[in-house]
Subunit: 314 residues, 4 copies
Amino acid sequence: MRICGVTTDLAIEAHDTLRAQTGQEIPGVTVDRRDFSHGQVTTVKIMDDQGAQAMGKPPGTYITIDAPALRVTDPEAHVAVVRELSEALKSFIQVGEKAGILVVGLGNWNATPDALGPRVANQTFVTRHVYHFASEHTPEGTRVLSALAPGVLGITGIETAEIIKGVVEHVQPELVICIDALAAGSVQRIASSIQLCDRGINPGSGIGGQRQGLTEETLGVKVISIGVPTVVHAALIARDAIVKLYEAYGRTPPQPAEMESIIQQLLEPFGGQLMVTPKEIDDLINNCSRIIAGSVSAAVHPGIDPNHYADYLQ
Amino acid sequence: MRICGVTTDLAIEAHDTLRAQTGQEIPGVTVDRRDFSHGQVTTVKIMDDQGAQAMGKPPGTYITIDAPALRVTDPEAHVAVVRELSEALKSFIQVGEKAGILVVGLGNWNATPDALGPRVANQTFVTRHVYHFASEHTPEGTRVLSALAPGVLGITGIETAEIIKGVVEHVQPELVICIDALAAGSVQRIASSIQLCDRGINPGSGIGGQRQGLTEETLGVKVISIGVPTVVHAALIARDAIVKLYEAYGRTPPQPAEMESIIQQLLEPFGGQLMVTPKEIDDLINNCSRIIAGSVSAAVHPGIDPNHYADYLQ
Amino acid sequence: MRICGVTTDLAIEAHDTLRAQTGQEIPGVTVDRRDFSHGQVTTVKIMDDQGAQAMGKPPGTYITIDAPALRVTDPEAHVAVVRELSEALKSFIQVGEKAGILVVGLGNWNATPDALGPRVANQTFVTRHVYHFASEHTPEGTRVLSALAPGVLGITGIETAEIIKGVVEHVQPELVICIDALAAGSVQRIASSIQLCDRGINPGSGIGGQRQGLTEETLGVKVISIGVPTVVHAALIARDAIVKLYEAYGRTPPQPAEMESIIQQLLEPFGGQLMVTPKEIDDLINNCSRIIAGSVSAAVHPGIDPNHYADYLQ
Amino acid sequence: MRICGVTTDLAIEAHDTLRAQTGQEIPGVTVDRRDFSHGQVTTVKIMDDQGAQAMGKPPGTYITIDAPALRVTDPEAHVAVVRELSEALKSFIQVGEKAGILVVGLGNWNATPDALGPRVANQTFVTRHVYHFASEHTPEGTRVLSALAPGVLGITGIETAEIIKGVVEHVQPELVICIDALAAGSVQRIASSIQLCDRGINPGSGIGGQRQGLTEETLGVKVISIGVPTVVHAALIARDAIVKLYEAYGRTPPQPAEMESIIQQLLEPFGGQLMVTPKEIDDLINNCSRIIAGSVSAAVHPGIDPNHYADYLQ
């Protein structure tokens, strides 16, 4: 259910909402859940077009790691998440040992809730320049990794996808890993879930709302995406408040269209582009960017032990 | 009306809400509105304890400059706001020509919506060191100005007020000007209002929610505060959505207590510390911090022409 | 005269040194000097291959604006420099009104002496996104401008030139303006000269020492470069100390080769990559980046008056 | 030997130079050297006034850890340095378990070579606010730690020592740990030595050249200082070039006074405040700030294992 054109970027949320609404399994979609020491790993597979249409997301595998300890200083839990995330990521990386891999950190480094991608790009253990210009110093146990934070349209004046296409054509990686801040459907998920997807980033995803997708179709190489919800659209908070109130009274909530018009009016001054985010967003982005950069480094470079991921953060 | 313990930091909003609810003038409070080329200047005076109690704010003069053009690139409008703000500020600065003035930029430089204060502190035209250590180079037309961004509790582990008290005792300014990001009651005000107050900052104000106030009582010198709303508490958005829906149906909204419990449940994961902020918050903070830093510099230093404020930004 | 492979990035210095050494005009090179209110403008034209070989720089026009007031807070002088620089830049911009122009800010935003380019890219008044996505809001008096700070090899693992080539192919500007921090031959020039060149950036220029040039040959569109010296190679300081001492004693300085070996030994631990830079480099970069961004904006956008450049800084 | 009023901030260098010049032990000074897995630890004790006068530094214990691997990505070596540094630091921390400790990060965050202190303050694991405001969540194995980066005179207009005095009076720690970027006597030491001292920071030390010392005398509580050389004064490079050249010719170098006048003339435009620093200073500061912040956290908080220091960096 879209309110003011917004919904969740998380496949797991889309699934759970749909499952609850329809009361039955969703054709063309499989879900597998398992626990780990500090949370849960859920794999949603959208198998076909029927599943894709129902879910509002393209076919692909969406792995979500839920770990509330992402929000607090808990090194043991963070290491456990890095182990899970780097393993899941490795299962998606099917390129040769010598293949170049490019990390793309999407988002706006000047706006904290949207700064996840650039932070990860900055902290990842990059090696490509050593291979190209000082190959006698190539660190053992590494692969050819580069990283870029292209900025956002409002800063550069250029569509992010165009920058990335141009760089991919010249750098010619065999795999692109995109990192982006996401919008969740509920504040429960903010900074406590990490979603991994083997189909890249689709138009309209992310806080920034990419106009063009970043996928194998647009870039010509396989694209893996990693995202963390850091905001919820304010429209969804407004809707949920109304729905919960009606539920409290045991009444049927108003039709979406009615709510839509009220909410649009309420959030009008910024064209609806209002985000709900926690006050301590800087700490949350800090935790998540460390964990994702560490997981990417550990998944790409066989010589980096996930248990010591923090030693390799830049 | 407080929801989940939150309300507005703006006297003008508190006044207008109360005026609308009661349908009559508020005893002990006077309001004066006038237009200028690009907006409106409203002066709310809380004259006595009766007014203070009704408004939920201490007695004092609260000047609000409303100018929607603060949100966009409009140099002409920005210069007009600097003229208004620096004039209003000058009317509050009643210290001798040789008196030291200290700017304090409150808030968290790592979280964009809360970064207004540190940005202003950083851009203000500081001169105190020239007077103290290179007095032969003292720029003409200036007064003795210093600036500090003390950080927030979560970064330093120290209550901000303690840092400021210590610095004030050693630097001995005759006036402190505090800058802080505020929380508004409505998204309409975000980054389009500037509030100036001659009574400092009171406990619980600002995004960061100072535990201790910064006032003449706590610091021993007069304190002027300047703030811009950069967020609205998510609880208020939820409440307003409910209220507006009921209004649309021509029904009386539920009691605050009922709404409170629904909303608390909805925003629970972050202890209610969820903020609504526009996606382009970085541009908004940029505009506002330039204008406030420029206005402070022009109000303090007689040699700086408000029309050329931008030339003196650091 | 190269010491440890380093020399000056400034044509004016190369010329003046050569002129002093040979005691005569340099064939294939013309020089024109004129004063303005706050400094001097020197135009060095390298006319042919003979001049190029003598100067160690490719044929082209090199305009240098010298203004010691760049180092201090002097708004009047800064406006005068913006007028000169934007005029000189306009004389180089020979593209149609609708043509797209791309600003490229070279250098490392994490190392202050090398951060000039990224700062300028960040402060320039970019409009391309408005033309492409909100053409009804296109600001009057502007042209289509975009800006990019591609980072440096050590951060991205990617050769800067490859990123720029890729972006140019996709964005298809008709003109590229590159900004870079330069190395001077003498500390006198640090942060007091701005060099403008109509032939782009050549391999080995800039603090970062681009491996590949950024020229019409490599990018396929005209390239203008703007640079400010922010460092002097430590090797040159060591050489000058020796030379000056010998001069003081009225003796002939040792042969370059002898000095070279001494100096190499002295600076060995960092492979000679040691830079001399003033302690207040942050203030200097701040002044220069404001002035260059303002000049670029004023030269590109007819609606921006150079006298009000500061109002348009982002 | 001072050149243009500058010398080294490192006791070990002062000692070694003096020892070489005089050819004998320095009365009132003891030196102890031992190796560890990745470098050397040297303890210089200045025992009395005679030693202090000879060395140009106040009596106290100066421990220097030399480890060239500080300059490169070598997690194993970095962990070894953290073990050494945190042990040495522990031997200096003689306050009770409940005592408050304040970290002060000196220097200018806007100038990379001077940004060490602020970086360390930012990355240290601060807990004081949890003890004061959420004592039910106090992390086990921690002590009461706070951290402050007061900025520099040019930014705030306030003498750093005044800010710190004020904060110390209000926060009342029993120990202050100051972190500062230092000036070495030779480029060999840049970013490869860490100096720890139990007598605080003395006037004129550090890149910023504190006008007032930060010592038990000025602050009223014990002060430990930690520093890393990140620059060499350009005057020393010039002097060394001359000296080495004379040595190469087997001649006696000129008198200091003669060299002084030459060098002063050479570096005049910036009042001699010219620093030599490596091009990759950002990486060096990054390595060193991580290691010092980790060592401070591990030395202060018994629950942090030095081998896992990186997990606790903020």
